[in-house]
């Protein structure tokens, strides 16, 4: 199979996945009586006129047949036209993009994921070369512990220690409220303050992620290090660093690509919790607020977008895999 055919196959598969998510999302929210029930109760209410009833029926599209509604919903999902939020009355897509929530989430997720991957892989490679040593047991134990600690609990303890006790970092929010009123400060101060606000949530999400990468890197490295070509490289007298990173890690890195894509859904879960703890004005906090406030159009749109991002992450991982490991094309 050529690379092009492989990519084509992946694209078709990705489209099928997107359709699956759209259909699942539809059925989940069909189970909620929410809007229909509320408007249905208007019908028997003597204070509500039939015009009001009609108005609300039209507003929420309840006068249409389920098939028509599905059709409308389906195109809405494809064109990112999710309707209006019950709470803010703005179009949901505006609340996602224009409000800066998407940017905030990307900032938090991006920095912590990069840090988590770099730290996890570095430690994993280093530790695998010293199997059974103190640093090996130590870092595996720490990784397992951060793995077992609830991410929201880490966030709360960090707030208690670093903001309430030591006053080093603000206890929450993405940036000071005063910016909203008086506009952004000069660039240097802007960056510094945002970094200060970013640090704690980023630290929590990094700790949430690095353990998995460390353990996985260590496991695949241990397997690779017992291969003959590693012994050969060592016998050639190559530097240990070259052996580890150039010879062993290059081959051990393949499962990491898939694992990081598959783990992306879990990371999103961690991001929801972190954003909630730190009151970080991103998509996770917004999803949480919409669930608490029963804002169904937002819930539906957010679930779709989160699932879509996992699908895209998997698609990208498949592409990278296809490029760096030619064997996969002949499966």
């Amino acid at each position: 199979m050529s690379l092009r055919a492989y990519i084509l196959k992946r694209i078709v598969y990705t489209i099928v996945l997107v359709l699956f998510v759209i259909i699942v999302n539809w059925f989940i929210f069909q189970a909620i009586p929410g809007v229909e029930g509320a408007i249905g109760s208007l019908q028997g209410n003597p204070r509500a006129t039939s015009q009001q009833y009609q108005h609300f029926q039209e507003l929420y599209g309840l006068n249409k047949s389920p098939l028509q509604r599905f059709e409308e919903y389906f195109w809405g999902m494809l064109t990112f036209n999710f309707g209006n939020s019950f709470v803010t009355q703005h179009p949901v897509i505006d609340d996602i993009v224009k409000s800066g929530r998407l940017a905030n989430t990307v900032l938090l997720l991006g920095t912590s994921t990069v840090l988590g991957i770099v730290i996890g892989i570095l430690f994993g490679v280093v530790v695998s070369a010293r199997r059974g040593s103190g640093i090996d047991t130590g870092s595996v134990t720490v990784a397992l512990t951060t793995f077992s600690l609830p991410v929201f609990w880490m966030g709360l303890t960090f707030i208690a220690v670093f903001s309430y006790l030591l006053h080093w970092f603000p206890p929450g929010k993405a940036y000071p409220d005063t910016w909203f009123l008086f506009g952004n400060p000069p660039l240097a101060q802007f960056i510094l303050t945002r970094l200060q606000y970013l640090f704690l949530p980023m630290l929590v999400l990094t700790l949430f992620q690095y353990g998995g990468f460390l353990l996985l890197t260590r496991a695949t490295m241990l397997e690779t290090l017992s291969e003959d070509y590693v012994t050969t490289a060592r016998a050639k007298g190559l530097k240990e660093r070259t052996v580890l990173f150039k010879h062993a890690f290059k081959n051990a890195s393949l499962p990491l690509v898939t694992a990081s894509a598959l783990g992306f859904g879990t990371v999103l879960g961690g991001a929801i919790l972190t954003e909630t703890v730190f009151n970080w004005n991103g998509l996770g906090l917004w999803l949480y607020n919409s669930i608490i406030g029963k804002d169904f159009p937002v819930m539906q749109a957010m679930f779709y977008i989160l699932a879509l991002s996992v699908i895209i992450a998997n698609f990208i991982a498949d592409l990278i895999y296809g490029i760096i490991d030619p064997r996969i094309r002949y499966e």
Binding site: F152, W153, G269, I272
Partner: protein, 485 residues
């Protein structure tokens, strides 16, 4: 036949003993097992030590600090719980011993006794002449600071011989020393043979109580106004007869809820945090174990089916698994729990039904390689059917994987439940560790580390125990991973 099963049992027992020995020789497994036994012990002991769900019991004052804080210099003002009246129901004549009477009680016109009216014990005061009489109990309040809250049971009085023209006046009071008297409730009794209680709760938090005592509008909380210092306090009631009559009083007690309590203090509703911690272990372990059993069972089923049956069954099952795998689990769970409602049953089912995909893939790939081995072919040649081959031959070869994945699925389920509870989508009726942390955040009590830290450690402790057991099982079952010695 009987001896056959017996020897079989013996063999299995010996095998299990050998397996245990193997596990205990592994340091990681031994630590994990020990940690699991500790948490399981806590979960089992919880209803024995604290028979009632601690969420429903006000054990101490709101936000009470741990008892041991009072031994430190900064805790000098803390007070503890006190029960002032031992028998508030006057169920036996000996209940009178803790009470004292004013001088008029000596007069020949008065008699004081206990009486049981319609199975309700009470203290009965009879007077044949118009006079005033006080029944009281003096107690020493030994703390420098005020209690967090004090409550009295809803006192009930019943009069005989009273009328609108000749009322019996009943007044309940709490005095500090001899200088200050606080009337908690007073009532002109004019009707006969009916139990009468105050219309407001006799609780220091009730706004009616300071009004009755005539100290409303002050800046200090009522508890601080009353218990302003270490002193002798008097609880009692005064009855004024204007004609011969009888009065019965019951539910006459006083309970002081301190602002220091127990090992870990109390939460914002006065519930014992240590009891909640023990009860939380039950919820976490229960949800973790049952949900992961469901998930692993489903995964085993799907994996065996997909691996053994090739063709369309395999294709459909695996495509479906891949699709499910792509749905982000926590957002999906949040949305689903919001839809179906947060009961513990729903949460377990949902976590279980969203946790089978990874394991199904593992089992499938294992089955794919096992079913090509000669012994399966031999079994088929010997006439074994699909079910026989799947349940005995193939299943026995993946059972070790099942154990490992089961152990690793439990912490995931526990953490998921904790996350749901933390986000306010846990079962409100069964306290869990996530909920304790959520409660602390709701009142912004992040500085009360005795509230925040223990449940987090609990979650990590239980999760880590299963992770350790899982990894060591993996090492035991999978000789490739065993370290060369």
């Amino acid at each position: 036949m009987k001896s056959g099963t017996e020897s079989n049992l013996k063999f299995n027992l010996r095998r299990f003993a050998n397996f245990l020995r193997l596990m205990l020789s592994n340091k990681m497994a031994a630590v994990g097992l020990f940690m699991f036994l500790v948490s399981a012990g806590a979960a089992l002991a919880a209803p024995i030590v604290y028979p009632q769900n601690p969420q429903n019991v006000a054990s101490a004052g709101f936000l009470a600090q741990p008892q041991w804080v009072s031994y430190f210099p900064e805790g000098y003002y803390l007070s503890s719980n006190m029960v002032v009246v031992n028998n508030p129901g006057f169920n036996s004549p000996s209940a009178l011993q803790e009470w004292s009477y004013s001088n008029t009680a000596q007069s020949p016109y008065v008699s004081i006794s206990t009486a049981t009216i319609a199975s309700t014990g009470s203290i009965q005061v009879f007077s044949s002449s118009p006079l005033s009489l006080t029944v009281y109990k003096t107690f020493h309040y030994p703390y420098r600071g005020p209690p967090s809250r004090f409550t009295l049971p809803s006192v009930a009085v019943r009069s005989q011989g009273a009328s609108a023209s000749n009322p019996i006046v009943f007044s309940l009071f709490l005095n500090r020393g001899v200088e200050r008297s606080f009337t908690l409730w007073s009532k002109n009794l004019t009707t006969n043979d009916a139990w009468i209680s105050p219309s407001y709760p006799l609780d220091s938090g009730s706004p009616s109580l300071p009004i009755a005592a005539g100290v409303q509008g002050g800046l200090l909380p009522f508890t601080e106004v009353v218990f302003s210092r270490e002193d002798d306090y008097t609880l009692g009631f005064t009855v004024t007869f204007s004609a011969p009559g009888t009065i019965n009083v019951t539910s006459l007690g006083l309970r002081l809820l301190g602002n220091a309590y127990g090992l870990l203090g109390a939460d914002s509703r006065g519930s014992d945090l240590f009891a909640e911690l023990l009860w939380g272990a039950r919820t976490s372990l229960f949800v973790g174990l049952v949900a992961s059993f469901i998930g692993i069972g489903l995964g085993l089923l799907v994996g065996l089916m997909a691996g053994y049956k090739t063709g369309i069954v395999d294709e459909v099952l695996m495509r479906f698994t891949d699709m499910m795998l792509v749905l982000p689990s926590l957002p999906l769970l949040l949305v689903l729990v919001a839809v179906v409602g947060p009961s513990i049953f729903n949460i377990i089912i949902l976590i279980g039904f969203l946790g089978w995909m990874g394991f199904a893939r593992v089992i499938r790939s294992q089955v794919l390689s096992i079913k090509e081995r000669p012994f399966i072919e031999a079994a088929r040649a010997a006439g074994a059917g699909t079910r026989k081959i799947l349940t005995t031959h193939i299943f026995r070869n993946v059972v070790s994987l099942t154990y490992v994945n089961l152990a690793l699925a439990v912490p995931a389920a526990i953490l998921t439940e904790a996350a749901l509870s933390f986000l306010g989508l846990g079962d409100p009726l069964s306290i869990s560790w996530g909920q304790i942390i959520s409660n602390a955040q709701a009142v912004n009590a992040l500085n009360d580390w005795w509230w925040i830290i223990p449940p987090g450690i609990g979650i990590a402790f239980v999760s880590l125990s299963f992770v350790l057991i899982g990894y060591s099982l993996d090492e035991i079952f999978n000789p490739k991973l065993r370290r060369r010695r």
